[in-house]
Symmetry: C2
Subunit: 359 residues, 2 copies
DNA sequence: AGTTAGCACTCTCCCTTGTCGAGTGCTAAT
DNA sequence: ATTAGCACTCGACAAGGGAGAGTGCTAACT
């Protein structure tokens, strides 16, 4: 599919104008936008051909043109210019992320990245993270509080610490706790969740001569932990910003999308790019999900060290400033990746070069 | 203010009909609703007087009547009949709460109560909790991981356990950690947040001969914890259900309320009942906040033991089935209170008696 | 052959007009 | 005090018409 240079310019003008105003674009407006001096009539002829090719659409006979999904696609693939983030934007992203980095909580950092994305793009954003590497228990401590109470503290291989206060019915003395913890450190560290089997648990029970079910409680806590940490975390933010856009003034339409986004399972099935830093753009009917048929999704992957990666994405109307949103996404993903993997808090996020867009 | 019995019946009929249909109620409809055999004309006269008294309103000359805020108030205070929860409802509440009780997380139990409230009432719900008693540190442990890493584990007086993994730049050996923890246990336990002063911190630093700022880091963590736990937690759920009601079809109006609810500070300033189990109903303009001027708020207080209490509330249109919502709220609050305070997991929540409504 | 001006045509938007029905307020009779 | 009757008011809805924006087509121009 090779269009004349002029057709491309007209298509670009229509897309950019329409993204800006949300009104069908007429031939006269295109002439104004276009640098080249051609008449409205010429542009009309060209636009008629673009409709023929399926790149533009006409809401009705005597209205201007709007881009079709295929038109957006072509625009995104070939015509889109790189959007340069403003100083304000880069500064806000860097400072927001660096601030949270200080407080240290991984999940809240990812959440914040989502919120930030939503705020800057004015569209709902979602953030997923998942662990790729195996997570195991690195270390195990039992703290004696009183004879009916102790605390389990578990250090995971990804440096997360989890704890649980346990009340028991039959008294227990400190030496017994120490023994318990020694055994657990010996036999439960370094194991992934699947390898903590019932066989292992009952073997441990026998070794410790435990009839009170204490071993089972502690082992259960470990399994729960490992499952929880391994499973992908999804968080959506800024759902309400949908209503700020004219295409979602219809409450039902917006609600369908918000409902869709609130389902974690569905989120994980959204399109995702092949590698870190790439941006995957899915336009209107390219979306498999019915609910998103007239919306577009942009997603970027971030890598945080070897054992963790995730996705940040945005959902909005097909009439979206793809270039601007892509630039934001890419910058945030890069920053997040650096913060999560390095943990080198002194290293500042640098300004970005250019954006690679992947189909 | 004493109305004739018939006026009261008419008012009740108008309120109940309007709550049901959301359409202004005409004299003919009232006659149908009313048991007594009177003509439409009589009802018209009566309704005209009720308008005079400010209890009913007329959207325009030739429309039916709708209740004014004062009308709702009178209805709630004097005319409302007690709503009996259905078996399904009580069963759903009990099982949802008991289920989460098992998993043991306090915050998530409160959250779930909010979600449940929202789902059952079909209105957005909020849930707050706050500690009334003083919270202190009950116990203090430092776990040695390697010479550059240790874990702080803190047991609070309300049985919460918190931890933090700390990386340090200058190496530290286990004996030093033990010493640190002994000193902290001696001087930081039993203190409320305000009593951890900079003076205390520097005194501790001197006592331990600490120049590395380690004491400051640990003390900072303690202060942070105590603040976090003391401050009220607020969670809103079901915001989107607003859109299911005709009075919030206007996106802007609904958005204003949702925005209002998303501000934790404002939530804590919402009206709250005097004592546990009472329901506080605030109708339309009785609300101080402008954003809620044409909505109503129902809130119930729950007590969970001596040192914790909270609020569950619901926001909806003034045209609301106050009786039904109040019954749900009261039942949920009672269940939540029992679960949080007793922790006696075997004791089932019993069916409720009657509801006391407080102005 | 590509480009342009001119012009009739089409369609939406918005305003006005007219009709219908629900519900009222008033009056006079019971 | 209650009721029947009746004129009146107002919103909802459909129909009609003018204005404006933009198109498609044709014929002339380069």
């Amino acid at each position: 599919m090779s269009l004349t240079e002029r057709k491309k310019e007209i298509l670009r003008a229509v897309v950019e104008q329409y993204v800006d105003t949300a009104e069908p674009v007429g031939s006269k407006t295109v002439v104004q936008q276009l640098g080249t001096a051609v008449s409205a009539a010429t542009v009309r002829n060209e636009m008629a051909e673009l409709v023929e090719l399926g790149l533009l659409e006409q809401p009705h006979t005597s209205a201007g043109r709007i881009p079709s999904p295929a038109g957006y696609r072509l625009y995104v693939n070939e015509l889109m210019r790189r959007h340069k983030l403003s100083q304000d934007d880069t500064r806000e992203i860097s400072s927001s992320l660096n601030l949270l980095q200080a407080s240290g909580q991984e999940q809240s950092l990812i959440d914040e990245a989502g919120r930030l994305t939503s705020r800057l793009t004015t569209y709902p954003a979602y953030a997923l993270s998942s662990m790729t590497g195996d997570i195991t228990i690195a270390r195990f401590d039992l703290i004696y509080v009183d004879s009916f109470t102790f605390i389990i503290v578990v250090l995971l291989s990804n440096d997360l610490v989890k704890n649980k206060l346990v009340h028991i019915t039959s008294p227990l003395q400190q030496p017994q706790l120490v023994k318990l913890s020694t055994v657990f450190n010996a036999s439960f560290t370094g194991l992934t969740e699947e390898r903590i089997t019932t066989a292992l648990i009952s073997a441990t029970e026998r070794a410790l001569n435990d009839a009170s079910g204490l071993v089972a409680v502690i082992a259960g806590f470990c399994i729960e932990l490992l499952c929880e940490v391994k499973s992908a975390q999804a968080r959506v933010s800024g759902e309400l910003s949908l209503f700020d856009h004219p295409e979602y003034q219809d409450v039902g339409k917006a609600q369908r999308i918000i409902r869709y986004l609130s389902d974690d399972n569905k989120l994980t099935r959204l399109p995702s790019p092949e590698s870190a830093g790439e941006i995957k753009i899915t336009i209107g009917p390219e979306n498999l999900a019915d609910e998103l048929r007239d919306s577009s999704v942009l997603a970027v992957r971030y890598d945080a060290g070897d054992d963790m990666q995730g996705l940040i994405g945005v959902v909005g109307p097909t009439r979206m400033d793809y270039s601007r949103v892509a630039a934001h996404l890419k910058y945030i993903a890069q920053g997040l990746g650096e913060l999560l993997s390095g943990g080198i808090s002194d290293k500042k996020i640098n300004e970005l070069g250019d954006n690679d867009i992947e189909e």
